[in-house]
């Protein structure tokens, strides 16, 4: 990803907008009794498009903002989302992405990772209550929502960050047909 001031502004707007949307919209609606959690999917997409460093920094920032707005101990959300973004970026750096299913599937898988991570952080901080088996259903449904949401997020964020994407620049250049002078 080619980072210019313009692209940085877009990244910040994407992260801030994503956190606000998650808190004000997705966390407050229920589909099949579960609220979608699309923040990990957004971070996965940013990691996929920008690489491991971009993914980690965006994940950390989104987690920090989330913790600040929810007035919970800082650092838990940052830790989980930075790991999510880093893993997504690492996947992009290690493997070629050919199938359009890769992004949604990765969103699904890493949302599962993030949800388990949130649970692990909570347990690390002290957890003294029985856990219902329904939480497994809830987490799996969140992963399915992340699959479908991830698809849309990938398209949207890719469009927003298109000027910074090396792959797209190459694609556009090779796709342009040379103009024939005098025709």
């Amino acid at each position: 990803m080619i980072l210019t001031p313009n692209i940085l502004v877009r990244l910040v707007a994407t992260v801030v907008g994503g956190v606000i949307l998650q808190l004000s919209l997705f966390s407050q609606v229920t589909l099949f009794d579960v609220s979608p959690d699309l923040l990990p999917a957004l971070i996965v997409v940013l990691g996929l498009l920008g690489g491991s460093l971009t993914g980690a920094v965006c994940g950390f920032s989104a987690g920090l903002l989330l913790d600040c707005l929810l007035i919970v101990p800082l650092g838990g959300g940052s830790l989980v989302l930075l790991a999510t973004g880093y893993l997504a970026g690492l996947f992009r750096e290690r493997f070629e992405i050919h199938s359009p299913l890769v992004a949604p599937l990765l969103c699904m898988g890493l949302t599962l990772f993030a949800e388990l991570g949130f649970g692990a952080v909570e347990m690390m901080l002290g957890f003294d209550a029985p856990v219902s088996t329904l939480i497994v259903r809830d987490i799996l449904l969140k992963c399915i929502f992340a699959f479908f949401g991830g698809w849309a997020i990938y398209v949207g964020v890719r469009r927003a960050l298109r000027p910074a994407l090396v792959d797209d620049l190459g694609g556009r250049r090779s796709g342009r047909r040379p103009r024939v002078l005098g025709a």
């Binding site: 808190l23 460093l53 950390f60 929810l70 101990p73 800082l74 940052s78 219902s132 329904l134």
Partner: protein, 282 residues
């Protein structure tokens, strides 16, 4: 060149991880800190605007959900049910109080909220995205008189308590959060216990450590106990309705001294809540 990049990447990653753990260590156990108050001051108005602007979208999605689940309920009947439930719980509590000659609190007209408390109405503007902790953010804070540990209710019953406040917002820890424990009693009967959540299932609470050998029956109401001994006391005033006993099998009661309770308040669909400020607790 590539190695330099890899080193830089690892350094940033290590810095972020160490930063996260440092933040966790420093801020764990604090109500709210300067950074959160500052961020909250900036983003609360934005969240409020976003909350209002996105309400039609939320309503649409929730409408679909309710249609799928066949949850559409008649609003008038629902209101009537709330009213009757409050009156019933209030009446049962009042009878229990009379029998035991305890006149510790003054109940308001509905019998649910004790006197001496001022209610501050807040709108839910944010909600924790994960099932592991159950917090909501509301748009009233210390500027409106809200303090940490103030009880929070809605039209149906107890919702939780204020866990942290900033000038214009507050975090409410719901009764289904893993950190929640509410001293409660069953009415009529007065059997006491501690209400704990079953994490991941917002429609199931566990009334544990039942302090009596009396049997609890399905359908009995559960209200807050509101105890006080010297300077120590419950966050909650007595007789706030919490829920009704949903599963009270004899086997579980005898073996584990617990019953399952379904909360009155729909904790997945909170929009407006009331914070009970002031008043003497317990």
């Amino acid at each position: 060149m590539y190695r330099k990049q890899v080193r830089r990447r690892r350094a940033v990653l290590a810095l972020l991880i160490v930063g996260s753990f440092a933040l966790l260590t420093v801020t764990y156990g604090q109500g709210s800190n300067g950074l959160q108050r500052g961020v909250s001051a900036i983003f609360s108005p934005i969240q409020s605007v976003a909350d209002r602007a996105l309400k039609p979208a939320r309503d649409l999605i929730n409408w679909f959900d309710e249609t799928f689940d066949a949850k559409g309920r008649n609003a008038r009947l629902h209101r009537e049910l709330e009213q009757v439930r409050k009156q019933a719980v209030g009446a049962q509590s009042a009878l229990a109080e009379n029998r035991q000659l305890k006149k510790l609190v003054e109940l308001d007209d509905s019998g649910a909220i004790p006197g001496g408390y001022t209610t501050v109405t807040g709108r839910v503007i944010g909600r924790s995205p994960t099932e592991w902790f159950a917090d909501v953010q509301i748009d009233v804070g210390s500027g409106d008189g809200v303090e940490v540990d103030d009880p929070v209710v809605n039209g149906d019953g107890l919702v939780g308590h204020v866990a942290a406040v900033t000038g214009g917002s507050a975090r409410v820890t719901l009764i289904v959060d893993h950190s929640s424990a509410v001293s409660a009693k069953i009415v009529p009967g007065g059997i006491q216990g501690v209400m704990k959540p079953s994490v991941g299932d917002p429609e199931d609470l566990i009334l544990d450590f039942l302090s009596s050998e009396k049997r609890v029956g399905k359908g009995q109401s559960v209200v807050t106990l509101g105890w006080r001994r010297g300077d120590i006391g419950s966050h909650y005033p007595p007789n706030l309705p919490i829920g009704e006993v949903d599963d009270a099998s004899l086997k579980v009661q005898e073996a584990q001294q617990q019953v399952h309770v379904r909360p009155f308040a729909d904790l997945r669909d909170l929009e407006l809540v009331q914070v009970l400020t002031g008043g003497s607790r317990g």
